[in-house]
């Protein structure tokens, strides 16, 4: 107990001591544990690829785990703005947490770069900017393909959480506008061992296409479940959360010939040279795989990597107006984001405005097809 007190005192002092320097201080809160750790850990990996200085200012990055718990996320955010006096908050990668943090960011008038395309009610989110593409933008390549291939009805099976909810809303809206009807909606949990009941019901409704809204290796199980029920692989579509090699690794031959919506980062080498994101994407994949192993690159690492690109654009702009650690600097960062114009990143092209904090242009998404265990871009 004696030592514990010493540790506690030391930690308290350390916590107090941070944050009064001229460095640019950035607070990052991502889920490193809990059910969405598959989103948080790659995000943290992406952050570790950030440069150590931008425009001559040292980057002081504080990374905290929010354990997939919005309460912890809010605590982290409060700690960032009061204790560490950060200039900018990054996080979280899980939707409910990022939503909860947005209130704290708005109150403290600090920019939040959310790693999840969170929906916020009207009037809120003045200080929140999303780094990932919105599900609406990611729905576009899928619905376009459906229109092209004459799909008239579709079925949906997705996570019973914020991710699945967002996808259901956006894909239904876009599809209905294109005259495509929804004939079945099923939900499941990542921890489920099978979706036989849901698959039976959905396949029984015989839709022309089925969309699976899941992420990472968790997207493989429903895919295999549908295939087992006899549904043709070529009619199954996955969301961008599943655009990782983990899907192919776990799904095996059952995902061959299926489609996945994705940002451009993962298939950067296959993009045409004219694509503004190609060079950045190639650089991302190179750096990420060098640090974390071959075939490890994924969407979430790319978004975190893109944050650095955005920072490299806006920090110099803000430095012209104020010093780091001041309220003016934080306001200047917000202004810079809204006026910077087009920022090419590995995942597309960002163009934030005062009214649009989602940023990505509608032609950002690409449709990929799983071919021979790798991605192929569908034209």
């Amino acid at each position: 107990m004696k030592h514990l007190k010493t540790w506690l005192a030391a930690a308290a002092l350390a916590a107090l001591a941070t944050g009064a320097h001229a460095d640019v201080t950035i607070g990052v809160s991502v889920p490193l544990t809990g059910p969405t750790s598959a989103l948080g850990i790659p995000s943290k990996n992406g952050i570790s690829l950030w440069p150590s200085t931008i425009a001559g200012e040292k980057l002081n990055v504080i990374v905290l785990d929010d354990a997939t718990d919005p309460t912890v996320g809010v605590k982290n955010a409060r700690r960032f703005v009061t204790e560490d006096k950060v200039d900018l908050i990054v996080g979280s990668a899980a939707t409910p947490i990022a939503i909860a943090m947005s209130d704290v960011a708005a109150e403290a008038q600090t920019v939040q770069l959310a790693l999840s395309p969170i929906p916020l009610p009207e009037g809120k989110g003045a200080w929140t900017f999303r780094l990932p593409q919105s599900t609406a933008v990611m729905s576009i390549p899928i619905v376009e393909h459906w229109k092209k291939t004459g799909v008239k009805t579709f079925g949906f099976v997705g996570y019973a959480d914020a991710y699945g909810e967002a996808w259901l809303k956006d894909i239904t809206a876009l599809a209905t506008a294109a005259g495509i009807k929804s004939v079945g909606v099923e939900r499941f949990a990542r921890a489920d061992t099978s979706i036989t009941g849901q698959a039976l019901k959905l396949v029984g409704a015989n839709p022309d296409a089925i969309l699976i809204a899941a992420s990472g290796s968790g997207a493989a199980m429903p895919h295999k479940g549908l295939v087992e029920r006899g549904y043709p692989k070529g009619k199954i579509y996955q969301t961008h959360g599943a655009a990782t090699l983990d899907l192919i690794r776990v799904g095996g031959k059952d995902v061959e010939g299926s489609f996945v919506s994705s940002g451009p980062a993962l298939v950067a080498p296959k993009l045409p040279d004219s694509n503004p994101s190609k060079a950045l994407g190639v650089r991302f994949i190179e750096q990420y795989e060098k640090a974390f192993g071959p075939k490890s690159a994924n969407q979430f690492g790319a978004h975190a990597f893109d944050a650095a690109i955005v920072l490299e654009k806006i920090i110099p702009m803000a430095l012209k107006k104020a010093r780091p650690g001041t309220k003016e600097f934080r306001a200047a960062l917000k202004e810079a984001l809204e006026t910077a114009g087009r920022i090419p990143v590995s995942q597309g092209v960002l163009n934030y405005t005062a009214t649009d904090h989602f940023g990505f242009t509608p032609d950002t998404g690409v449709l990929l097809k799983v071919t021979n265990g790798d991605w192929e871009v569908v034209k």
């Binding site: 909860a100 019973a160 914020a162």
Partner: protein
């Protein structure tokens, strides 16, 4: 003013001062969360530490409180001060329903049920459209006092900690009262409290709802502090953490709740920051450390932190303020010789085994009847049949003309029958005086609410006076403030008798009262019994000590193998060859 009162005042003063000092905002936030957790843990201390009902699911009640208040303020525009009543009402309703199902379960089924409904409610929260599913509800208004919104940590701090202190005080005051004694008796099983006239099921539901209300209130505060709610803080993990806080702080101590909440919260936070810095890599370390710590605490410090603190503080004796309290009203004793207990052909079968075989006897007012027989004769079983602990297979038991067989033991207790037990059943953590006062439970009537508000002091003094009187009668008046668990077996038995007497019975059932007593104590006991008989009490006595039985009994009933062998005066029994054969065997 006692030292603990001083300490309490100092603590409250420190809390009141804290937000005004230049303490970093971070620590104010920490203390706020500690306060929110402490509210829930106080309820858990009452539920698990005192009443012995382990609950892993308190987090679900926090959720009900938080969501209802959030929904009411967002959708109906109610002020949070009104919404809290809605929230608490809903929490109480849910607690009544869940308690009704859960509290009928015994042993380890109960905590398993709490896990089940905690998970069930968590998934329900996450799936209801009206509650925002997994995104939850946002933009909840802060609480405001006289128009001032409590939207900063410091301003919220006052309200929160005022409520925490009130809750802790109320809980402490509850425990030191008639209802509190009833709750503390629950842990050792329901046989003894029922025999004292306490409705144990009702008591369990009461403490369950109380704990739920505290959790619900914490939820209400949480919703208006964080200003957004979603399902994650109301899941099983948090439920387990609350229990962890209670265990670390000392699950039987109300103030331990605060200590436990503080230690766990601070530790968790520091681990979250420290360990990744020390060890690098992804931060699942604090979960591992938590798990290991939990096991460690249970292995080495099971009574928790606060118990260690309390053990070092001098225990103060209770202030004797009841000397001038009015005596409790006593029921009129039946006239000497009237038939008090009529046991008619009672039979008890356990499957194929006949434990009590059509036994009949009577006890009259002002009479001591002894029930003897070799071991296994069925004496204690007969006792349990008479006092309602076991149901009869056949036969009748009448108390002053009224049939009492088939009544639950507390119904029989309320009709003036009081008993002691073959294996002493008491509450070891309470003092001797408090244990004896437990016997007088049905002679009081002030319940939980007056106890928490300290409005029942008059009745309490009367009850304690009665308890002291009975202790004087059995010769233990000098040991009022000793912990009952520290007594030797002999004084424990005397204490049990004093407790039985506190109930003002007309019939006293004593199950081997002299077992473990020394010779002088037995003589004193015999004197007490004779005195009671002179006052008109009827006594049914099971004993093995022949000297005592033959000395005090007016009549003796002898049983062997469940059957009544003979009845008669001590002289007749001693002369009977059948009795001698039963005890010593026949000659060959």
């Amino acid at each position: 003013m006692t030292s603990s009162r001083w300490f309490l005042l100092a603590f409250a003063a420190a809390l009141a001062l804290l937000p005004q000092l230049p303490v970093p905002e971070f620590w104010v936030t920490q203390l706020n969360y500690i306060g929110l957790y402490a509210l829930v843990v106080i309820g858990l201390v009452l539920l698990t530490g005192i009443a012995g009902l382990t609950s892993f699911g308190q987090a679900a009640f926090v959720g009900i409180g938080a969501y209802s208040s959030a929904w009411l303020t967002l959708n109906l525009g109610l002020s949070p001060w009104l919404a809290v009543f809605g929230g608490l009402a809903l929490t109480a309703l849910a607690a009544l329903l869940l308690g009704w199902i859960t509290l009928r379960m015994s042993g380890h089924y109960l905590p398993l049920a709490t896990i089940a409904w905690c998970l069930s409610l968590y998934y329900l929260f996450g799936n209801l459209e009206a509650l925002g599913r997994y995104d939850g509800l946002l933009g909840i208004a802060p609480l405001s006092v006289f128009g001032l919104p409590l939207n900063t940590g410091r301003s919220f701090f006052y309200l929160l900690w005022a409520l925490v202190m009130l809750a802790a005080l109320a809980a402490t005051q509850l425990l030191d009262s008639r209802s509190g004694r009833a709750l503390r008796a629950l842990k050792g099983g329901s046989t003894m409290p029922e025999a004292m006239g306490i409705d144990t099921f009702r008591a369990k539901v009461t403490v369950f709802v109380l704990a739920a209300l505290l959790a619900g209130m914490s939820g209400w505060l949480f919703a208006h502090f964080q200003r957004s709610v979603n399902p994650s803080p109301f899941g099983l993990k948090m439920g387990i953490e609350y229990l962890f806080m209670a265990v670390i702080g000392g699950v039987g101590q109300v103030w331990g709740a605060l200590a436990g909440a503080a230690v766990v919260k601070l530790l968790e936070d520091q681990l979250q920051v420290l360990l990744p810095r020390l060890l690098g890599g992804s931060g699942s370390y604090e979960v591992i450390v938590f798990g290991v710590l939990l096991v460690g605490v249970l292995q080495y410090a099971r009574d928790g932190l606060w118990a260690a603190v309390v053990a070092r503080l001098p225990r103060r004796a209770r202030r004797r303020d009841w000397a001038d309290a009015a005596p409790l009203p006593e029921a009129a004793r039946p006239p000497h010789g009237e038939l008090v207990l009529d046991v008619h052909s009672v039979r008890k079968e356990f499957g194929g085994l006949v434990a009590v075989n059509d036994v009949s006897f009577q006890v009259r007012a002002g009479e001591i009847v002894g029930l003897i027989g070799p071991n296994g004769a069925g004496k204690s079983t007969t006792f349990n049949l008479v006092s309602g602990v076991l149901p009869l297979t056949r036969g009748e038991v009448r108390l002053r003309g009224e049939r009492i067989d088939g009544l639950p033991s507390r119904g029989i207790a309320r009709r003036g029958v009081s008993r002691t037990f073959q294996h002493v059943k008491m509450v070891p953590e309470m003092t001797v005086l408090e244990n004896v006062a437990l016997g007088a439970h049905r002679r009081g009537r002030r319940g939980v609410l007056p106890a928490m508000l300290r409005l029942e002091r008059d009745e309490e003094r009367r009850l304690l006076r009665e308890a002291e009187r009975q202790l004087q009668r059995v010769g233990m008046a000098d040991r009022l403030d000793e912990l009952a668990g520290n007594l030797a077996l002999g004084p424990q038995r005397l204490m049990e008798i004093a407790r039985a007497l506190s109930a003002d019975p007309s019939l006293l059932l004593l199950d081997e009262p002299a077992a473990g007593l020394r010779h002088q104590e037995k003589r004193a006991l015999a004197g007490v019994l004779r005195q009671l008989r002179a006052e008109g009490l009827s006594i049914l006595l099971v004993e093995h000590d022949m000297d005592l039985v033959m000395d005090v009994s007016d009549r003796i009933v002898v049983m062997e193998f469940g059957t009544q062998l003979m009845q008669g005066t001590p002289a007749e029994v001693q002369a009977s060859a059948a009795v001698r054969a039963a005890y010593l065997g026949t000659e060959h």
